[in-house]
């Protein structure tokens, strides 16, 4: 736990998140309109989405299934009976004049997410609830000096609102929570987690207190669409609140906005200005009733999630905690690693994936999905190392060529003649030539400077252009150098 040092002593931040995750589904929560991102404005709007007179919502079963899947992935209680409510307010991008949401009876109850802390320990962040709701449309205020344009393509798209308990104690923990939650959603395939496109965003509730004291007054920072912004906004807000209190003031409960340019938060509306949303059960929709078989059917198709996968990587594959965590943090990375490790030395595979592949991806700014080296090619490279066809050093060279060209390792090795030489006769010739070329060094070695062995190995490898099997080189050199030496002992 990281504390904030104020002028008057240490303060602790208390943070909770409300995450809005767009449900991965073909059509909207209550209409058949498409949810595809980037369509022409108002091209994906049904009569229901536009709230034409007499139009009625019909629940999209796929979205319900996705919410249940997410709930199960969060280890949460699935509520077999839930209710859709209307949240009433006026805004041009809210065609019905209300958002259909779930208020007092959400589809998913309490669950938990484990996050790994920097000190190697873990923290459990409790999930209070998950509910389904409609997204609003988009108001564009900057297209015209006088008028606002409204795009309803998003209106009615299904969101899952996932609410955490205020269990995080630092901005880093908030970021770690969001990272892990996003990973879980992607593993489950229930949200693409694409924060730039707005598929995943969070409201962050922050308060500060003396460590262990009662909770302070919270402020909510709305609509953060990157993990970095979550961390920065929470950090700034906590420091701001400490400053307010230390200046003798009191934190006002309010909603604030994060200015990504300045990295600061500013007031949006106070508690008094909060809407009275007049929630009531939507009479157009019956209570949502699920049966156990429906839930069990989804449970049976749940993928292995990050925590379980990490445990397995450590316990069954012998990876380190750190390597396992890096690999499971992203579904695509884990899948890539597993494809490479399939039937091979898992530790060697992990090394290549983490150090070489991830390194190269980082340097080139590519995502794992766009990696120019396929998992099967990287696996083939590992196979070549294991079979002694190439050395680890040559393998790095081959990998660079693979990353550059996207070609398979076998053809690169063959084309460049990089097969490792393990033929003792050929290596012996090289070794003999090296020894013959450095008679004084040989003498020094035999005189007791045995650390010169490395020098000879280097020369031999260089002479073989890296292709000689280093183990064989070593053995031969040692034998030949020692054999011409008097036995003193």
């Amino acid at each position: 736990m990281s504390l904030i040092e104020g002028q008057s002593g240490a303060w602790e931040a208390v943070i909770g998140l409300e995450v809005h995750a767009q449900v991965t589904s073909e059509s909207k929560l209550f209409s058949g309109a498409s949810t595809a991102f980037g369509g022409e404005p108002n091209a994906q709007v049904s009569l229901v989405d536009a709230a034409m007179p007499g139009m009625l919502p019909v629940i999209n079963e796929r979205c319900v299934e996705q919410a249940v899947r997410t709930g199960l992935g969060l280890g949460a209680q699935i509520n077999l009976v839930s209710v859709f409510d209307r949240k009433n307010y006026f805004y041009p991008d809210l065609p019905q004049g209300y958002q259909i949401s779930q208020y007092s009876q959400p589809i998913v109850g309490s669950g938990a997410v484990e996050i790994a802390l920097e000190d190697g320990t873990t923290r459990t962040v409790r999930i209070a609830r998950l509910h389904l709701e409609q997204d609003a449309g988009k108001s564009l205020h900057d297209r015209d000096p006088r008028r606002t344009w409204v795009d309803l393509n998003r209106a009615g798209v299904a969101l899952m609102e996932i609410v955490s308990e205020p269990d995080m104690r630092s901005p880093e923990e908030a970021a770690a929570f969001m990272t892990r939650l996003r990973a879980i959603l992607r593993y489950l395939g229930t949200c693409d987690g694409n924060m730039e496109e707005g598929s995943l965003r969070a409201d962050v509730n922050v308060s500060v207190r003396r460590p262990g004291a009662a909770l302070g007054t919270r402020c909510e920072i709305k609509n953060l669409n990157s993990i970095r912004f979550i961390r920065e906004a929470a950090a700034h807000e906590a420091r701001r609140q400490v400053a307010v209190i230390e200046d003798g003031g009191a934190v006002e409960q309010e909603t604030r906005l994060f200015d990504t340019g300045s990295g600061t938060t500013r007031p949006m509306r106070s508690k008094e200005e909060e809407h009275d949303y007049r929630y009531f059960p939507d009479p157009d929709l019956l209570p949502l009733v699920l049966d156990e078989a429906f839930v069990d059917g989804i449970r049976a198709t749940l993928p292995e999630l990050p925590d379980a996968k990490k445990r397995r990587f450590v316990d069954a594959l012998g990876l380190s905690e750190e390597d396992a965590e890096v690999l499971v943090a992203d579904r695509d990375s884990a899948a890539y690693f597993e494809a490479v490790a399939e039937g091979r030395d898992a530790k060697l595979a992990a090394n290549w994936v983490i150090r070489d592949l991830f390194g190269a991806l980082n340097r080139s700014g590519l995502a794992i999905a766009d990696a120019p080296v396929s998992a099967s090619d990287l696996g083939a490279l590992v196979d070549l190392i294991r079979a002694g066809t190439i050395s680890g050093r040559i393998a790095r060279e081959v990998f660079e060529a693979m990353f550059e060209t996207g070609r398979d390792p076998g053809s690169i090795v063959a084309e460049r003649g990089l097969e490792q030489v393990s033929d003792t006769g050929a290596i012996e010739a090289i070794v003999d030539a090296v020894l013959a070329g450095h008679p004084d060094r040989v003498a020094e070695y035999r005189g007791g400077k045995t650390r010169l062995l490395g020098f000879f190995v280097g020369q031999a490898m260089k002479a073989s252009r890296g292709k000689a099997n280093p183990k064989t080189v070593n053995e031969l050199l040692r034998a030949k150098l020692d054999e011409g030496q008097g036995r003193d002992e």
Partner: protein, 492 residues
């Protein structure tokens, strides 16, 4: 057949005459178009669609020649202007939707047209179906074609489907669609001397019907005989996957069993429906109804619906609460009237201030209040609890009886303007129809006699959920015994 004879037909009689080739759909449509023109002072229609009617009729006659007649083949109907009709202005009688032409057809009206019905036009109603008198329409009040004996003061035709009732009574259409939220089919039917049936909630799709109170709104037929309403409901009803509250249950042939009688059935008489203020003529008619059913072989049993008195106040919280939210979409942003203001909030205020009439504004305010933080539990939630108790009352009563008989309204039609200054008095007129609405039960009004003032009075039948067949059988028994044949006289 002369025009007057054609417009005086029942749906069943017209169907037989069409089937027998005695008349054509075109003749039937022409007769009604003429009648509608003559009756314009009643203000029964917001939009007349004579060209559409003639085109529908021509298509219908052509289908019949091909041997493809549907259940309502060639029958000219009025469609309440709460139903969205593709390509035909649909206003809910509100200024805010004046000029709105939907690009879609409501499921119920589509069902009717697919059964062969001919559209005469869109019927006037109270704005957004809110009112008990049909006086709140942006397009002016509808007059009841009836006049009090010895008087000539225009009377209200009753609640929102008023126009439907008035149009049917005035022989402007053979039948009409209505919607019933708290009695808007039954009460105008009673006031206008016609038959109105509200089926079980979920029997007809609400898709494409402008919503008033979603948990109560239900479409149903208004016509001049029980058989006609049964024929119409058969065509209107059916599961619709586009309405989550529509129920996937087979639609029986309602007409087939209407003459099965009530012998051996138990008719429940709820004591609580005898209000202190119920006039003597209505009490007497109720007694007559009990006697007619007894004569037909039914066994009258006294039942109790103890929470009846709380139904009306509960209704007047639930319905406005839902309405306040349902009407939020009329904001001037996407369609309908917009009155530009200085900023967004001002535009909302001006648009909705100009677009909604006084009664609609009143209900939005009541509903908004009832749902507000701090009042929700005391009003909306409490009203929902009352609703549950009211529904339970009916469940209990149906342990002891097969259907219920009570008056439709506590009074006969009142004069235009007579109660519009006193919303409470107007709301009280729904006291006998609202309980079945809260319980979602099928209920219908059948004309059974005249008041002391010479105005029609209705008796109401309520049956178990999805047992409209028993409701129609009982209503048919009343109809036969009452022999109600009075019709509005010529206007002075």
């Amino acid at each position: 057949m002369a025009g007057g004879a054609l417009t005086g037909l029942t749906i069943a009689a017209a169907r037989d005459a069409l089937a027998g080739g005695e008349i054509s759909a075109r003749e039937l449509a022409l007769a009604h178009i003429a009648a509608i023109e003559d009756a314009r002072p009643l203000n029964a229609f917001i939009t007349e669609t004579p060209e559409r009617a003639l085109a529908d009729a021509a298509a219908s006659d052509a289908r019949r020649r091909r041997g493809e007649a549907g259940a309502l083949e060639g029958i000219p109907l009025g469609i309440k202007d709460l139903f969205c009709t593709e390509g035909v202005m649909s206003t809910a009688a509100s200024a805010i939707l004046d000029g709105f032409v939907p690009p879609y057809e409501s499921t119920v009206s589509r069902n009717l047209f697919e059964a062969g019905a001919v559209m005469l036009g869109k019927l006037n109603l109270d704005e957004f179906a809110m009112g008990s008198s049909n006086e709140t329409s942006h397009f002016g009040p509808v007059e009841n074609p009836w006049r009090r004996r010895g008087g000539n003061r225009p009377l209200v035709p009753g609640r929102p489907s008023a126009r439907s009732g008035a149009a049917v009574a005035a022989r402007l259409c053979l039948g009409a669609t209505g919607t019933d939220t708290g009695g808007s089919i039954r009460q105008p039917a009673a006031f206008c001397g016609v038959v109105g049936a509200k089926p079980t909630y979920g029997r007809c799709s609400r898709w494409g019907i402008v919503a008033f109170a979603s948990s109560l709104d239900q479409a149903g037929p208004v016509a001049r005989s029980v058989r006609d309403t049964a024929i119409m409901l058969g065509a209107m009803a059916g599961f619709d996957p586009k309405d989550s509250t529509s129920v996937d249950i087979a639609v029986p042939d309602f007409e087939a069993t209407i003459d099965d009688g009530v012998a051996g059935l138990r008719v429940g008489i709820p004591a609580e429906y005898a209000l202190d203020e119920t006039p003597g003529d209505i009490r007497a008619l109720w007694e007559d109804g009990i006697a007619w059913l007894r004569d037909a072989g039914a066994e009258p049993v006294e039942v109790s619906l103890p929470h009846t008195a709380y139904a009306l106040p509960a209704y007047h919280l639930i319905a406005p609460a839902e309405a306040s939210s349902n009407l939020a979409r009329y904001d001037g942003v996407r369609y309908g009237r917009r009155v530009e203001g200085a900023d967004l909030i001002d535009t909302y205020a001006r648009t909705r201030g100009a677009g909604f009439g006084a009664e609609v504004r009143r209900r939005i305010l009541i509903g908004t209040y009832a749902l507000s933080a701090g009042y929700y539990d005391a009003y909306y939630l409490k009203a929902q609890k009352v609703r549950t108790l009211v529904a339970r009352d009916f469940d209990d009563a149906f342990e002891a009886c097969d259907f219920l008989l009570m008056p439709t309204c506590p009074s006969d039609a009142f004069a235009i303007g007579e109660k519009s200054d006193d919303p409470i008095a107007m709301y009280l007129n729904d006291v006998l129809t609202v309980p079945a609405s809260l319980a979602g039960l099928p209920a219908m009004s059948v004309p059974a006699g005249l008041s002391e003032g010479g105005l029609p009075l209705g008796l109401q039948i309520v049956s178990r959920a999805f047992d409209e067949e028993t409701m129609f059988r009982a209503a048919r028994s009343i109809e036969k015994a009452a022999g109600f044949e009075a019709r509005p006289g010529p206007r002075a």
